[in-house]
């Protein structure tokens, strides 16, 4: 079920009413309702893959219990590896089987050997990369004795399949989300209103910004060979805002929805395009994934404690694995590697933590230096996104060489001038609102809080109007569903 569908507009209030008015007296029943709702939510897409979630849930719950009673280090490690192999095995099969097969074929054909493999037509289960990482975090934390394993299967199941963040995150840690399923939830007016506001903002980001940018970005990337440099640059910019609007919009809706049910999810985006360097960008972009890789991969590998070689190695590993997590294509791996190259100079010169605060905090405008740094970081990010969006490496290189050609200084080739103009205006208004609200959790978290109610409600109504007026008329899924 998509957040931006009428189905969800009916589903959410129904579950909300059942949760707070029918099963509100009993925590266990509330958790059961969360599980049922989550399975309906997921099964709406394809019920067959519910078995995968259930299997993953049973395996990790059982291994958690086994780890609790086991003192033998070898056996504990064996249990941990079972969980890793099961979870990553599913992920590897559904997401990477054909990728590895294709690359083996290419490698063998390079040496003149022809093999006829059995390629499989595999459907990628929506959200598998997200819930796999979430359940893995549970087993690893229990193994490392950072978390007491749960004996409550209902609570654990609800933690694994919690519908607001099941298919595209934020990837929650068991240490933070699981205990929330043990505690009695009480309704909080301010949090619920804040949740509604964040859902509204998430829908605006997705339906107005991301979906409009997507139409133009797709058109430009799909016809890149015939377009001039300035148009290609615009295409890369449209994709830059598409992916931000799409993914951070999803996170906003997920976090807002969770608040309605009395849960707190971690922040996933913190205005990443207002970053002064790439390290800051990565502290602000897809925070739940970045910190997951930091805690479960980078630090176990030695982090930045060793010598220069180890820092270089670990940085490349974490960024390239992160890229590969996004999809089974070399473009994602190169995207990760580019970000590693951006990040390394900052790490090696100990400048990766120079910009920890909010850009131009307490001021309306940034300084000239801040503006230049922000522009530079944004430019680097846009460049890297080209690899993320391209069909293959060749396409990315062709696209980039198309940008850096003489035609960069020619007028863009607008296939549909008004549409481009309107989308650019929408993006500009959006970024102004983001800038204004950058000190809050999300752009409109604080905006208008001191206004009188009719004015504040008028503002929210106008956002609703903007959604209705500018959203493309065809429903489109979130980009991160494919990851």
């Amino acid at each position: 079920m998509l957040f931006n569908s009428l189905d969800f507009a009916v589903f959410l209030p129904v579950v909300f009413i059942l949760y707070w008015f029918v099963v509100n007296k009993n925590l266990r029943n509330q958790n059961i309702l969360v599980i049922l709702a989550s399975y309906v939510f997921y099964g709406w897409w394809d019920w067959r893959f519910l078995a995968l979630i259930l299997f993953s849930t049973v395996v990790d719950f059982t291994i958690g219990l086994k780890l609790k009673g086991e003192q033998d280090a070898f056996k504990r490690k064996a249990f941990l590896w079972i969980s890793i192999l099961v979870n990553l095995g599913f992920l590897g099969f559904f997401k990477y089987y054909n990728f590895f097969l294709d690359n083996f074929i290419t490698a063998f054909s390079f040496f003149g050997m022809e093999i006829k493999p059995n390629t499989l037509s595999i459907i990628l289960p929506v959200g598998i990369s997200f819930y796999t990482f979430q359940t893995l975090s549970y087993t690893i934390d229990v193994y490392k004795r950072r978390l007491e394993p749960t004996e409550d299967f209902i609570a654990f199941s609800a933690f694994v399949c919690f519908f607001p963040q099941l298919v595209a995150g934020p990837i929650e840690r068991a240490t933070e989300l699981l205990p929330q399923f043990y505690r009695k939830r009480s309704f909080n007016y301010s949090k619920a209103v804040d949740g509604m506001r964040q859902i509204l903002w998430g829908l605006f980001k997705k339906l107005v910004i991301a979906d409009n940018c997507a139409e133009l970005a797709d058109r430009i990337f799909n016809n890149s060979a015939d377009l001039n440099g300035s148009t290609l640059l615009l295409g890369a910019l449209f994709f830059t805002f598409q992916i931000y609007g799409d993914f951070s919009g999803y996170s906003d809706i997920a976090i807002g929805t969770s608040r309605l049910f009395g849960f707190h999810l971690k922040r996933n985006f913190a205005f990443p395009y207002f970053s002064r360097d790439v390290a800051e960008f990565w502290r602000r972009w897809h925070i739940s994934l970045s910190t997951w890789f930091r805690d479960y991969l980078y630090i176990p590998l030695g982090g930045s404690r060793g010598g220069t070689w180890m820092k270089v190695r670990n940085t490349f590993i974490i960024f390239m694995v992160s890229g590969f997590w996004h999809g089974a294509n070399w473009t994602f791996i190169v995207w990760g590697a580019i970000n590693a190259i951006y990040f390394l100079p900052l790490l090696l010169t100990n400048k990766n933590r120079d910009n920890l605060g909010i850009m131009a905090q307490g001021r309306y405008f940034p300084t000239a230096k801040e503006s230049l740094l922000m522009l530079k970081t944004f430019g680097l990010t846009v460049f890297a996104w080209i690899f993320f969006r391209a069909e293959n490496i060749g396409h990315a290189f062709d696209y980039i060489s198309g940008i850096f050609s003489d035609s960069l200084f020619k007028a863009p080739m607008f296939l549909d001038g008004e549409r481009y103009q309107l989308t650019l205006i929408l993006v500009l208004v959006f970024m102004l609102l983001e800038w204004k609200g950058r000190e809050g959790e999300y752009a409109i978290a604080q905006l208008g809080q001191e206004w009188h109610r009719p004015m504040r409600w008028g503002f929210y109504s106008l956002i609703l109007f903007a959604i209705g007026m500018f959203m493309p008329s065809n429903e489109s899924p979130f980009i991160y569903f494919q990851f």
């Binding site: 007016y189 103009q421 309107l422 409600w457 007026m469 008329s473």
Partner: protein
């Protein structure tokens, strides 16, 4: 919780009112390119406004034509009149069965035809019907049937346009509107036909092949229409009006489509008329020019005479 629920119930009408006002002001004051989800065009292409303005003057016709632009540009009411048939052409741009049903519910009793000739371009069974719904919202009255149609189409553009039209009509902003008989090369002929000033189709590029996949919802509504007409003892003739061969041949499954349509009623596919040539008898990739219309209508009249 009570406060939250109360606020939600207060916010919904508040936001609805703001939305309605903003939709009207935005729709009224800004050019088309800045209002992508409002498409209110009274007097739009196809002279639907003129057609519906005069439909009330007709009753007890011999033949009622239904269908898309292939109908209102393909069945010349004058030719049929010369052969002694009193006809009315209720075709409209991209009319799908969903809109046909609404039009019949509104006008069938009055027109009371002996026969319905229903133009069957397969594309009208493959599309969502948004364009035709917008056409009806702007050019016909708005009532509960309109609301039902808009809900069935379920598209943000049709919702917004309906809201805009409600305010527009309430403020009587249409009262001074008069649609010119002749516009953009089209001449409206009383009885619903639209004649194109002479023109020829230029050689076209190869069309991309397209498989005929019928929308189940549209087929279900179509089935209801045919059933309703037959129940009223109205003879139903289904006609696939000629389109250029280059366009016709791009559809994969024409025979399958013919076989399905034959199952509903008497069905004639006129795309085999040898005398029609793409370059001489069509003015674009869909529509017959007046020479083509004469050839086609003569063939159709032959069929009717021989029945």
């Amino acid at each position: 919780m009570r406060r939250f629920i109360k606020d939600i119930f207060m916010f919904i009408p508040f936001a609805g009112l703001v939305y309605l006002l903003a939709t009207f002001l935005w729709g009224y004051g800004l050019p088309m390119e800045y209002k992508p989800n409002i498409n209110y065009k009274i007097g739009s292409i196809g002279h639907m406004y003129s057609r519906l303005s005069e439909v009330g003057n007709y009753k007890d016709v011999d033949i009622l034509f239904l269908g898309s632009s292939h109908a209102y540009r393909g069945f010349d009411t004058r030719i049929f009149s010369d052969h002694g048939y009193q006809t009315f052409n209720l075709g409209s741009s991209s009319q799908t069965p969903i809109q046909t049903k609404i039009l019949l519910e509104r006008y069938l009793d009055k027109l009371n035809p002996k026969m319905v000739i229903y133009e069957m371009y397969p594309e009208t069974f493959m599309i969502d019907g948004v364009e035709s719904t917008l056409d009806l919202i702007a050019n016909d009255r708005i009532d509960k049937l309109t609301l039902g149609m808009v809900l069935k189409i379920n598209n943000i553009k049709t919702y917004n346009t309906l809201l805009y039209a409600l305010v527009h009509n309430a403020l009587r902003l249409n009262e001074a509107f008069e649609e010119p008989i002749q516009k953009e090369g089209d001449i409206y002929i009383p009885g619903g036909f639209v004649e194109k000033e002479e023109g020829y189709d230029l050689p076209v590029e190869q069309y991309e092949k397209k498989k005929i996949i019928l929308d189940e919802g549209q087929v279900a509504v179509f089935s209801d229409i045919v059933h309703e007409l037959k129940t009223r003892n109205i003879e139903v003739i289904l006609v696939y009006a000629p389109i250029p061969h280059s366009n016709y041949d791009r559809y994969l499954g024409n025979e399958y489509y013919d076989s399905i349509m034959k199952g509903y009623s008497a069905y004639y596919n006129f795309n085999g008329i040898e005398a029609l040539t793409d370059s001489l008898n069509f003015y674009d990739s869909h529509h017959l020019n007046q020479n083509g219309v004469k050839l086609f209508n003569d063939k159709l009249l032959n069929v009717l005479d021989n029945r």
